[in-house]
Symmetry: C2
Subunit: 475 residues, 2 copies
């Protein structure tokens, strides 16, 4: 039996991005449905941001406490890992989504459980868990917010070896004695930090030259140094050739190119993401299943007047906060188009996700924290900007030394020499996570360097590095 319903907006995927888009649509008076095949709240709430940060916060707080005189002696022992895991479980609501369901209902969004598929323009079918079917029509817009999934490489033996992906690493209920992590991006370094602190002997294998390859090189260097100090092993230039695990359980052996064998109790592959667009009926509207969606600045799919791709699926910036930002922008654009209002798609306009190109922030919750926004030096140069990178040793800032004995960290800002504004900034060190937003405001606000000179950092905070960077720039 199939029932039918009509909405102004139908959202495929009810992670943070889909939820925010639905919220924006409802706020604009548009009737809205979301379709979700898993938990309302998505990857972020249950298998990514929330559990990973719930796992990492005690690790970072302990590291901070250990660097403080008068306190360090009392925090040399191990973390109470069961307590940390229980707190993680609490933060993911034990993988139940009642709270988020209630919230969506409270704002008047209808929820359809099941796999949603496009069946031609503005038409969606939903196949529910018990075989029930719904046909939904969207008067104005269908927004694909299905996100991405972890992908593992096609290596001999890997499929049968039950490797961890990010979902397993954030939801594990036991501490593996030995954990091999393949990949040195954000997932790799955050999970290395957490599980090493919980008692695993962690080995991180990266194919390239270092960790966190999308950030300034010193970010990966400082994080690698700290992971090594914490007892982990970080190996660069290490490519995995195959994986061996009898029956898919028990010890697992990772075989490197060259033949070296590393035995572990679990292996985590943190090697990239793929869009969850393979089974949503893209072929019915002339798009390729499994592809990233190419969208304009309003997040509308190129060539369509009703289909939007918001969040990870558009491959602009695979981060929860950036997907939510796109949801705000796209939601406003959908509403404006539905109401026949004019759009402002100019740079930094109300209907342009400009920050996706110019001011994407990221905080990596390792010890030290690594935080960056906008362009790195390499990215700025590749984009043809005439820039200068200004560096400063965070250990030389009074507020840093007060924050932590033996502080190690570094800051860099990228100055556009033609416009005298910042194109990017990177801070690596303990306690810099909340400092990043100052740079995000400066970069997105295109605040001139001469004006930043008047933005006085409070003394003695780590933020005083701003003064030092500006002094260094002015010479």
């Amino acid at each position: 039996m199939t029932d039918t319903a009509e909405y102004d907006v139908v959202v495929l995927g009810a992670g943070p991005v889909g939820e925010n888009l639905a919220d924006r649509a409802r706020a604009a008076g548009l009737s809205t449905a979301v379709v979700e095949s898993e938990l309302i709240g998505g990857e972020c709430s249950y298998w990514a941001c929330m559990p990973s940060k719930a796992l990492l916060r005690p690790v970072i707080a302990r590291a901070d406490a250990r660097r403080v005189p008068g306190l360090s002696g009392s925090v040399q022992g191990p973390l109470d890992v069961p307590a940390v895991l229980a707190h993680r479980d609490y933060y993911v609501s034990n993988w139940k989504d009642d709270g988020q369901v209630d919230w969506l209902k409270s704002i008047g969004v209808d929820i359809y459980r099941g796999q949603g598929r496009i069946e031609g323009p503005k038409r969606i079918t939903v196949e529910g868990p018990a075989g029930e079917r719904h046909t939904l029509t969207a008067r104005h817009a269908v927004a694909v917010c299905t996100g991405s999934r972890a992908v593992v490489p096609d290596l001999p033996g890997l499929a049968g070896a039950n490797p961890w992906t990010s979902r397993d690493a954030t939801s594990a209920k036991h501490v593996p004695g030995r954990l091999v992590i393949v990949g040195g991006g954000v997932v790799g370094v955050e999970m290395a930090t957490a599980w090493q602190a919980f008692g695993s002997r962690v080995t991180v294998l990266v194919r390239g030259k270092g960790l966190l390859p999308r950030m300034e090189p010193f970010a990966g260097e400082l994080v690698a140094e700290a992971l090594t100090d914490a007892g982990a092993t970080v190996r660069t230039g290490a490519s995995v050739a195959s994986v061996e695990r009898a029956d898919g359980s028990g010890p697992v052996t990772v075989v490197l190119q060259g033949g070296e064998r590393i035995e572990a109790d679990e292996v985590l592959f943190a090697t990239g993401r793929a869009p969850r667009t393979d089974d949503i009926g893209l072929d019915t509207v002339g798009l390729k299943p499994g592809s990233w969606l190419t969208v304009d600045e309003t997040c509308r799919v190129e060539g369509s007047d009703w289909l939007y791709g918001v969040g990870d699926v558009n491959h602009r910036a695979l981060m929860t906060h950036e997907g939510k930002y796109q949801a705000r922008i796209a939601g406003a654009a959908i509403a404006a188009r539905a109401h026949g209002d004019p759009l402002d798609t100019a740079r930094w306009g109300a209907h342009s996700a400009t920050a996706d190109h110019a001011a994407v922030p990221q905080v990596v919750f390792t010890d030290p924290e690594a935080a960056a926004v906008g362009l790195s030096l390499a990215e700025a140069e590749a984009a043809g900007h005439r820039v200068r990178a200004v560096d400063y040793d965070l250990a030389s800032v009074a507020g840093s030394g007060l924050y932590a004995d033996g502080y190690r960290g570094r800051a860099r800002m990228i100055v556009d020499l033609d416009r005298e504004i910042l194109l990017g900034a990177t801070f690596v060190g303990p306690g810099v996570g909340e400092l990043l937003h100052s740079a995000t405001v400066a970069v997105a606000g295109e605040v001139p360097v001469d004006r930043l000179w008047h933005a006085v950092p409070a003394y003695p905070t780590i933020s005083e590095v701003w003064l030092r960077l500006l002094e260094t720039y002015r010479g």
Copy 2:
């Protein structure tokens, strides 16, 4: 015997402000001398910012650790107070200034030890500790950077009671069993936080309605709540009538208006500051000894073409970082005038300390931290701005809850409804100290609210309160 010397610039007072002004002058190629009667490095280095933050950091780190699952159990015990005090001693270089002397010498600044006094236009005499005398002539400018000192009220019995002032509270080598603190400003609440954590039973007495009266009211309320939870007593509407202490040692009794008597082992008066201008020869140039200096936007004394008042002495904003800012601006103005270069004294110009009026940041290192920049609601309304205060409960931000279990905090931004920019912002809660600079950049940068919408906070940080504030404002 008197020797004489001539410089481009003579600086009275070598605290951070004088040091920075000398640095700027030297950077502009001007010959420069500083005159200092105490330690090179000033109040901040030995009796204010540095020791207070060295005392407070372990207190805050312990409070943070106590709010983290898996770690809280190990940090329930007392701090190792001797270790904290020893670290404080290290941070003030055991009240020795060799390091700062070496730095000033390294940049080519001459140092004169002793009391400096103006003796007519551009002329300074220095009376050294052994009676030696120097007469210095300043070709271009004399900068008074002598700062301020704690003042205690003229109460019966107080003079003979050896009360603590901020210097004693930051340099004490023993923990008083009972400590009464008179005054609920920054010094009062910071020292209450520190000494209560070190084992004193602290009573804070404030005449007015609450703590931190210059900030938004909720700042003082949250800090009072936390001090009370920590075991301290906070009493508002409590005026001290007299103080009794036999022989100036042993227990001290604070007598309130109304007759109530409170006994303690020490009493700290944190009741305000006075300019250190009483013995610097102001009368020789027609100014009143002991007065605050009235200066223009370049920090030049009104009516003079050679005398500057920089830092606390001008009463614009009594904070180290703001004094250093003024030193940068005044130093640039002195250099421009000396070289005959044009000045830019327009609002936010290179030679205008505009931030003193519009964007003074302050972080109070209590638990919770209280951080504010720009105008409070009351200040904005008093100044005639058409504003809206936008509030948000920091406990409702995902990053806050992850930072600390049971997070309590609040944020407010003040929007100028005519210009759609921020005039001020306040954050109170654990971990907000480094978050403040984002608001300082927004306020000093006059970044429009519509652009702040594109300044995406990284998820899940406390900084996401920015999104919530902006959403609340947009309704």
